[in-house]
């Protein structure tokens, strides 16, 4: 996003010691310049002092993050705040320029990427997609599709699915690997308002039933409030973190999301910068219609 905003945030970050400590919880906030830290032994995945720079420009820096079992952590921040870069770094897709990541032994990550645009030139049924690369999964496909509420699409082509159905199918593929940790990058993109609430309910249920740790990426706190145990507000560095209610009132968060936060809580404001194909075409109207 805009440079002045970023540098102002850095300045505020340096003065974070003055902020009331009771408003800030969890690791990764205000502790990263105290020298190297030990990794959290109970975490599925931990990052300490993570830094990624591209072409001389720092994308993220000084990031400390932990995700523990049965915990839903939401990463939130404006567009361009480095959320996707951080997720990619944690997945090992983005080389680090500083810091270190530690995965607990044997932790596999189920990944649901941000944009799952299916090229219709490639004919592929849901079933074939789910067993792709691992034919032994075939026997469990029905169960997992049931778990995500998408049994009915099993024999359909990927290209014919709605945004919400596609998300569930990609989620099902992630679950077929029995991962202890699930990473979902903007899972509600291209999903309508009702589908969004359902998706978060589903993620909460998966956490309860499977005991998963979950890292969610969102650009808007309001909608994910109910689902998250902990929120990390990111703007190239960790601005603040803690339980959702606390972060929502944190000065850094209010400054970053000022105009939107000023509106009634629960309003869904969508930054439209993505595709409109497939079933996503009518979605913006439905969203707007949902605004009070």
């Amino acid at each position: 996003m805009s440079e002045p905003r970023g540098s102002a945030a850095d300045g505020a970050g340096a003065g974070k010691g003055s902020q009331p400590p009771e408003h800030v919880h969890g690791p990764g906030c205000g502790t990263h310049d105290d020298g190297p830290q030990d990794f959290d032994p109970g975490a599925l995945i931990s990052g300490r002092g993570l830094r990624v720079a591209r072409r001389g420009r720092t994308i993220i820096s000084d990031i400390d993050i932990d995700i523990r079992p049965r915990e839903i952590v939401t990463l939130i921040g404006p567009n361009g705040s480095g959320k996707t870069t951080l997720v990619r770094a944690l997945l090992g897709l983005e080389p680090l320029d500083g810091g270190a990541i530690r995965r607990a032994d044997g932790v596999r990550i189920g990944y649901v990427p941000q944009r799952f645009d299916v090229d219709r030139a490639l004919p592929m049924t849901v079933e074939r997609f789910l067993e792709l690369g691992n034919g032994e999964r075939k026997a469990r496909i029905g169960d997992v599709l049931g778990e995500v509420g998408a049994v009915h699409v099993r024999s359909q082509q990927l290209g014919e699915l709605s945004g919400g159905e596609l998300q569930r199918v990609v989620l099902a593929r992630a679950l077929l690997g029995d991962p202890p940790l699930l990473v979902l990058d903007e899972p509600v993109r291209g999903v309508d308002y009702v589908g969004e609430a359902e998706l978060y309910t589903l993620i909460g249920r998966l956490r309860d039933e499977r005991g998963l740790g979950v890292l969610l990426v969102s650009h808007d706190l309001h909608v994910v409030m109910a689902a998250s145990d902990r929120v990390i507000c990111l703007n190239r560095h960790v601005c603040c973190s803690g339980v959702p209610e606390t972060v929502a009132q944190h000065p850094e968060y209010v400054r970053l999301f000022g105009a939107e936060t000023a509106r009634a809580f629960g309003v869904y404001h969508h930054h439209h910068d993505h595709r409109h194909d497939l079933a996503g075409a009518p979605a913006p109207e439905r969203r707007d219609g949902g605004l009070p």
């Binding site: 997945l91 090992g92 897709l93 990550i109 990944y111 990427p113 799952f116 299916v118 090229d119 030139a121 490639l122 004919p123 592929m124 049924t125 074939r128 997609f129 792709l132 690369g133 082509q157 990927l158 990609v170 593929r173 690997g177």
Partner: protein, 265 residues
């Protein structure tokens, strides 16, 4: 009794058709048609170099094709000019350089036409060994890497996160594409190679529900087009390679019309 040159032409084109079907499907799925077009036309530079230094034509074409592919990958790293514009630049630049080099070296524009559109009726026994040997290697590699290739085609990032090494898969794919272009050159020429790859895959798409069926159906379309196209070529005395490609294009056109009608109905 069929003439031996016609038997060799049929054998060469059918061999290429079988290899081209799965490879062409992958090119279509990965939206690499223009990329393939560019590297194929750059192979003309390889032909010029082979004539100049009197080295093996196939080897020279493979090496130049790979070099151009590598250059394209480097160019794609910059973000100020879109990739399709770079491909347009490279494609015409390589074609221009190739045409100048080959016509200066061979001294006659007649040879150039052979390189551009192929000279399928001049296929020798030795060419057939190259086509079947190279084709078998390409098919074996595609079969071996089919699952990871499909996963990268569906979603590159997801495949990478799941542990598919795209840093291996993509270069290998470009390598087999380069080899295929080299062996296809004598049959259909540098201008029609990519059509030979992608047009059967396009024709097959509306009738395929799985990637494998699309690849197999593309092979059927390609082989049928070879037989019909060469028959046409012999009967009306038309150039062989273009006749095959024209047949493929007609079948693909019919297939797309069918798909459009089905969509409306």
């Amino acid at each position: 009794m069929i003439e031996p040159f016609l038997v060799r032409a049929l054998a060469a084109a059918i061999g290429l058709a079988i290899v081209a079907a799965p490879l062409g499907s992958l090119v279509v799925w990965n939206r690499m048609a223009y990329f393939g077009e560019t590297v194929a036309q750059a192979s003309l530079i390889g032909i010029a170099l082979a004539i100049m230094f009197e080295i093996n034509l196939t080897l020279s074409v493979v090496l130049i094709t790979l070099a151009v592919a590598a250059l394209l990958i480097v160019f794609a790293r910059q973000k100020v000019v879109p990739l399709d514009s770079i491909l347009g630049l490279m494609h015409h630049g390589a074609l221009a350089l190739g045409v100048i080099a080959t016509s200066m070296l061979t001294g006659s524009p007649v040879d150039l036409v052979g390189f551009l559109f192929g000279d399928i009726f001049a296929i020798s026994k030795e060419d057939l060994y190259w086509i079947y040997g190279g084709g078998a290697v390409v098919l074996a590699i595609i079969a071996w890497l089919w699952q990871p290739l499909l996963r990268v085609s569906v979603h590159e990032e997801l495949a990478a996160a799941e542990g598919v090494s795209r840093n291996v898969i993509k270069p290998v794919f470009i390598l087999v594409l380069a080899v295929t272009i080299a062996i296809a050159m004598k049959i259909v020429g540098v201008l029609l190679v990519i059509a030979f790859l992608i047009v059967p895959a396009v024709a097959a798409r509306p009738f395929a529900a799985t990637p494998e069926r699309m690849a197999v159906l593309a092979g059927v379309v390609a082989v049928a087009s070879v037989v019909i196209g060469l028959g046409l070529s012999v009967n009306i005395d038309a150039p062989g390679g273009p006749s095959i490609v024209l047949t493929m294009a007609c079948l693909a056109g019919l297939s797309l019309v069918y798909a459009a009608v089905r969509q409306r109905g």
